[in-house]
Structures are given as C-alpha cells and as structure tokens.
C-alpha cells in the first residue's frame, strides 16, 4: 500500500495507470501538469512519483530536476513514463536522478505496477530499457 503520484497530461494514460494502481490497492493521486504535480508532491507526500516525459509547459525532465533539487522532495523516487523509447532521453533522465525509465507501450499496466512495487521495495535501479525489438 503506497502513495503513488502520477503526473501525466494525457487523460487516457492517467486514467489507465490510476486504475491499475487502484486495483493493486495503492493510494493514487493524479496531476495534469508539472506545476500541479509539484504542488501535489508537497501536499500528498507520495512514496513514489510517476512522471510523463512529454508534457506541455513543463516537461517531465524539468519536473524531475525540480524534485531532485528540492531538499524536501529529492529522496522520493521518480519513475519516468514515456512513449518515446529514447536511449538518450533515458540516459538523461537517469543521470538527472530518475530511478527508472519506462516505455508505456511496451508493458502491460500490471508489469508497470510490478516494476513500481519492486522499486518501492528496494529502490532498485534497472538497466536502461532496450529499444523496441
């Protein structure tokens, strides 16, 4: 049972992930953009934050930076979600402090939930996901 904050601008995606984590019995909070997301981090104090990379105004990497530079939030693990399977972006994200970089289209929601639980359990940092085969 963890508190999961999902920062995702696409309602399709945010609804989907909200469901899976709810089905897996976690407390889920959703934010539609970076600014709202950062506010909710402070308010909600999640166990883990899932951030979509491609968002208007403030993109996922920028949110990541903000979170990692803020003393209050830098301990919270951040997972990047995206549909761009970019090697470089993944590396950048991980370099900036993200714990994982997940390509949404490659995993079933359950797999994602499993990965998140694993992270929560041990803060494991996995290898960069490989490009679509």
């Amino acid at each position: 049972m963890a508190k999961i904050l999902i920062i995702e601008d696409d309602p399709l995606m945010s609804r989907m992930y909200q469901k899976i984590f709810t089905f897996e019995k976690h407390e889920v909070e959703v934010a539609g953009n970076g600014v709202e997301g950062l506010a909710k981090v402070t308010a909600f104090q999640p166990t883990i934050v899932l951030v979509d990379v491609m968002m208007p105004e403030m993109n996922g990497l920028q949110v990541l930076e903000k979170l990692k530079s803020d003393q209050a939030t830098k301990a919270i693990p951040v997972v990047m979600l995206t549909n761009l399977a970019g090697q470089q972006d993944a590396e950048t994200a991980l370099a900036k402090g993200a714990v994982k970089y997940i390509v949404k289209s490659e995993h079933e929601p359950k797999e994602v939930a499993d990965m998140v639980e694993e992270i929560i359990a041990g803060y494991t940092r996995n290898a960069i996901p490989s490009a679509a085969a």
Partner: protein, 641 residues
C-alpha cells in the same frame, strides 16, 4: 578620280618609290653635272681661243716690232754702214717672214688672211727695197741707199703698218667680241647653274616633302586608330587605299584588330555569362581575394545576409553579422591550410545557413583567395526538424492510444474475472487486446523502417560477441519456442571460433530476433540451428530451420517490403507479422556494412538464412567513426536539444 597613271604610281611599293626617287635625283644631278661640264668646256674652249688670239696679237705686235726694227735698222745701216746690222737684219727679216707665215697658216679668217697676204705683198716689196738698200750700202752707195728710203718706201711702211694696225684692230675686235661672248656665256652659265640648282632643290624638296608627308599621314592615321583602339574603341579600323608596305601594315593592323575584338567579345561574353550565372544563383556566393581586401558577392548573398547597397559588405561586417561563427577566421584558416571548410548550421538572424568555403587555387598552385557559398537552409532544416518531430510525434501519438487499448483490455481481463467468465466477452476483449499488441508492433516496425530508410538511425558500434547475442535471444525466445516444441541449437563451437564483430549490439540482436523468429514461424516442429563462420573480414551467421521451406517463386519475394512467402495479397497470413521483418533486417545489416541472403531453401526441408557482420578491426572502427552522428537511435531526434 585620279589619273590612272597616278593611281598606278601610288600603288608602287615604298621601296620602289624610294629607288625611283633616288634615281631621279641622281639623274638630275648627273644632268646638272653634264650641263655644268659642257658649259665649262665651252668657256674653256673660248679661253683657249682667246689664248690663241692673244698669241696671234702678240705675233702681230712682234711683226710690227720686227718691221720697225727692220726699218730702223735699215736707217741705221744707211747711216752707220754697220756690217753687223746686216746679219741682224737678215735674222730679223727671216723672223718676220716666219712669223708672217705662221700667222698666215694659222689664220681662220678669210678677211684676215687677205690682209695678211696684202701685208705680205707689201712686206716683200719692202724687203726688196731693203735688200736693195743693203746692197747699195755694201757698194758704199750711201746716196742711192738713202734715196731708196723714199716716199714709196715710207708709204709702203705706212701701208704695212696700216695693215698690221688693221690686223691688230681686227684681232682686238675679235678678242673683245670673244671676251664679251665669253662673259655672256659665263653669265649664262652662272644663271643656268643657279636655276638648275634651284630647280634641283625645288624638285627634291617638294618631292621629299610630298613623299614624307604622304608617309607621315599614313603613319599618323595608323597611330590615331591604334590610340582609339587602346582607348577602348574596338571597332576602330584603318582606312587606306595604299597597296604598299604601309598599306599592308594597315591591313595587318585591321586583321589584328578584328582578332582582338573577337577575343575580347568572347571573353566579355564568357564573363557576362559567368557573372549572370553567379548573379542568378539562389545560393549566396562570396569571393575574397588575397591581394585586395575587397569582397565580391552576388545578390543572393546580399539578400541572405541583409546587406544593403548603402553599406556594402566588408570583412568586418561579415564578422559581425554571423554570430557564433567566425567566418573570417574560417576563411583565413582555409587560405592558410588550403583546405575547404563547412558549417552546416550557422545561425544568423533567425535563419539557418549552410556555409561552405574552399580555397581558390590556380593550376600552378598559386592561391587567389577563397570562395564561399552561403545557403539559406532554414526551410530544409525546418522540414527536417518537422520530419524529426513527425517521428517523435507519430510514435508518441500512435502509441498512446494503442497503449491505452492494450492496457485497459489487459486490466479488464485481469481484474474483472467475474465478467470475463463470459467466454464470448472474454474472447472479444482478448481480440481487442491482441489487436492492440499487433498494432503497436506494426507501428514500431513502420517507424523503425522509416528511420532506417532515411538513415536517421545511428548505430552505436562496439565489439560484440555473436555467441553472446545468440544466447540472449535464444533465452528470451525460450517460452515461444517451447510452446511450439521447437528446439534451438546454438553451434557453440563455430560461434565461439569467430572473432568479435564491430556492430550495434541492439540492432544485431534485432536481426537475430527477426531471423530466429521467422524460422520459428515457418517451422511446425523440428529445430533451428544457429552457427557462424569467418569469411574474409566478416563473420557470417547462419540460421537454419527445418520448416516448410520456400518455393523458388516465394524466394524471389524475400527481402522486399510487405512480402510474405505466401504469394498473392489475399493469401497473406496476417498473423505472421507485417512482412517487414526481413526488410528491416536487411536495412540494418546493410547499414552496418554487411549483407543478408537466403542461403538455401527446399520445400518441405527447410531454409537457411545468413547475414554478415564486419569483424572488429581498426580499419572498420575508423570507417564507422566517420558516420557517427549525434542522432538518437530510435527517435531520430538530434540529441542537441
């Protein structure tokens, strides 16, 4: 119209004219000389004649003297009876006679001759008388002797004297006539010579004048035309009717002028064409020259760099205008090292320019300057970027809804077991889920393919062990293969024996996946064998299956897009993928410098596919270094964000 003779004359060559002129002058001088000579001769002759006359006069005078002498002698003799005088008289008398004879014989004048004869007569009578006197004296008859000196004798003496006087007077007259004739002659000669000289000088002077003036005029005409020509009037020509050397010179000049004009026109035309082509280029063209600090550039460049006519371009301005890129330094370096340079993305005024420059050298390696081409590639870059963006947007936009479909259906299947008890409903949701999975695959394939085709894919090379990859893939595909009861054999010995290859690990894996996957798809049961061998600078990987095999017709279709070994469009087995797999593998293998092909296939027996990869060598590493670009492998986005 000039007289035909003059016409002819003017056409003679200069040399001939000079020759003729010289001959004429010589002739005139000769004539002059002859004239002089003959006149002098005449004068000489007349002087000779004068001399004769003078001699004659002298003779006559002598005669007179002698006569008087005789006379006086006789008188003296008569008085003195000097015997010596007789001798003297005889001498004188013979002298007189001889003189007289001489005068007579040399007389040219009848009149004179007559007088001389008359005198002779008188003289002989006188001599007779004198002889008589002599004898009388000898006889000492002085009185008789004295009587003989009578009036007759005196009268004869006077007559004789008169004759002589006449002679002398005649002579004198003759002489004075002759003298006056001579002096007239001399005067005439002097006048004649003077006139002749004047004439000579006149003729020579005038003809030389005319000749040289004619010459000078022609030369000066030529000169004028030459000056005109030099000043730029290339149509200037010499007009001449001369046919002599100057005429030839004029013609040659004209011919030369025509040639020069022709060459100049050609040059001008070429220059115009060249200039026109440069000026009409839509690409900016700039030239710098080593010797002058000036720049030349075409209108396109001015337009691209916003150069106005008021502030024309200079090197300083150039430096200023292109921020972040020191064009001047690039140009200087280019000239120093004699190498070209290029900056594909210079930013300027919100536009993107592709700047490339090269040194301008002559064939003798002399460096003249630099030529720089500046192209506004903003549109192209925008298009490129929009293509880049298209890929990323397409991948994102397509995948998002597909992910939603896949994720939601999967969650339905998983978390609504009660509802899923309905087999129809479950099947439907399954189908939807499967469809989304397939769609995602297709989208991935399409995007991958597009990027590969456009070479927007960068291969990250490293030393890779084919054995390792084969093992990974075999492991990852275990489940699928087990399901189909297909065994996979990795020929460890051969795989191990081959050296490491220089390839993109992920992409290589992709090829393995594709070929092994295909093998699995086309094999109902049996095995798949993966082996390798070294061929030259490559490692050849072979994947053999014991599946259906392919007919020759089907083999033709391999490696083409969307072709499945099934034949017609309608017999597509859409369950077996999009048909892009082999094509994508081909692209990957070829992009990495290798080749892929069907080694053999037999219907009912199976097929063997093979592909080659470069062995990890320093040469191959060097080759691929050039192709390294900072482009993301899968999104095609430039990593320079």
């Amino acid at each position: 119209m000039r007289h035909p003779i003059l016409e002819k004359a003017s056409q003679l060559s200069l040399r001939t004219k000079l020759l003729i002129g010289t001959l004429v002058i010589i002739g005139m001088l000769v004539a002059f000389g002859l004239y002089l000579f003959s006149h002098l001769n005449t004068v000489h002759d007349s002087f000779l004649q004068l001399n004769t006359r003078y001699a004659r006069q002298k003779s006559v005078l002598t005669l007179e003297l002698e006569n008087r002498q005789l006379s006086s002698d006789i008188r003296t003799y008569v008085i003195n009876h000097d015997v010596n005088l007789e001798t003297k008289y005889n001498l004188t008398s013979s002298a007189l006679n001889s003189t007289l004879q001489q005068l007579k014989s040399t007389s040219e004048n009848a009149q004179e001759k007559k007088v001389l004869i008359d005198y002779e007569n008188v003289a002989s009578k006188l001599q007779g008388t004198e002889l008589l006197i002599l004898s009388k004296v000898r006889e000492n008859d002085a009185t008789q002797a004295r009587n003989l000196l009578d009036l007759d004798y005196e009268a004869r003496q006077s007559q004789a004297a008169q004759y002589l006087t006449d002679l002398i007077n005649d002579e004198s007259t003759d002489v004075s006539n002759m003298i006056s004739t001579n002096s007239r002659l001399v005067n005439n000669t002097e006048l004649g010579l003077f006139l002749a000289l004047v004439l000579l000088i006149g003729v020579v002077g005038v003809s030389v004048q005319l000749f040289t003036r004619n010459l000078v005029r022609s030369v000066s005409d030529l000169n004028k035309v030459a000056v005109q020509f030099t000043l730029g009037n290339l149509t200037a020509r010499v007009i001449t009717k001369r046919k002599d050397e100057l005429g030839h010179l004029a013609q040659e000049f004209n011919t030369m002028a025509v040639q020069i004009k022709k060459y100049y026109s050609q040059l001008e035309q070429e220059r115009t064409r060249l200039l026109a082509s440069i000026n009409n280029l839509s690409i900016g063209f700039l030239m710098t020259f080593i010797d002058t600090k000036t720049l030349s550039y075409n209108p396109a460049l001015a337009k691209i760099l916003d150069v106005s006519d008021e502030s024309p371009m200079s090197l300083e301005l150039l430096h200023e205008k292109i921020k972040g890129y020191d064009l001047n330094a690039a140009i200087a370096n280019c000239q120093k090292t004699n190498t070209p340079f290029v900056n594909q993305e210079a930013s300027y005024n919100n536009r993107i320019l592709n700047i490339s420059g090269a040194p301008i050298t002559l064939s003798n390696h002399q460096m003249l300057g630099t030529v720089v081409l500046v192209e506004d590639v903003t549109e192209a870059k925008i298009q490129e970027r929009s293509k880049d963006e298209f890929f990323s947007i397409a991948s994102h936009e397509l995948r998002t809804p597909l992910t939603s479909i896949k994720g939601n259906t999967s969650m339905i299947l998983q978390y609504y077991p009660d509802v899923m008890k309905d087999p129809q409903l479950k099947e439907m949701i399954d189908d939807v889920h499967d469809s989304s999975v397939r769609l995602i695959e297709i989208v991935n394939d399409f995007l991958d393919l597009s990027r590969l085709e456009q070479s927007k894919v960068t291969f990250i090379y490293e030393p890779v062990s084919t054995e390792e990859i084969a093992e990974n893939v075999a492991y990852e595909m275990k489940t699928v293969l087990d399901e189909k009861h297909i065994r996979i054999n990795l020929d460890k010995m051969t795989l191990d024996a081959t050296p490491k290859v220089w390839a993109d690990k992920n992409r290589l894996k992709q090829v393995f996946y594709n070929l092994i996957g295909n093998a699995a798809k086309f094999t109902e049961k049996g095995s798949i064998t993966v082996s390798a061998e070294t061929v030259g600078n490559y490692v050849k990987v072979l994947i053999t299956d014991s599946g259906r095999g392919m007919s020759p017709e089907a083999q033709q279709l391999l490696f083409h897009k969307f072709q499945q070994a099934g034949g017609s469009l309608l017999t597509r087995d859409t369950a077996k993928g999009t048909g892009l797999g082999l094509y994508i593998s081909k692209m990957i293998v070829e992009n990495m410098g290798g080749s892929i092909k069907l080694e053999r296939s037999e219907v009912g027996k199976g097929s063997t596919f093979s592909f080659t990869v470069s062995i990890d060598t320093p040469e191959r590493r060097a080759q691929t270094k050039q192709f390294e670009n900072q482009i993301d492998t899968t999104t095609g986005l430039s990593t320079k964000t």
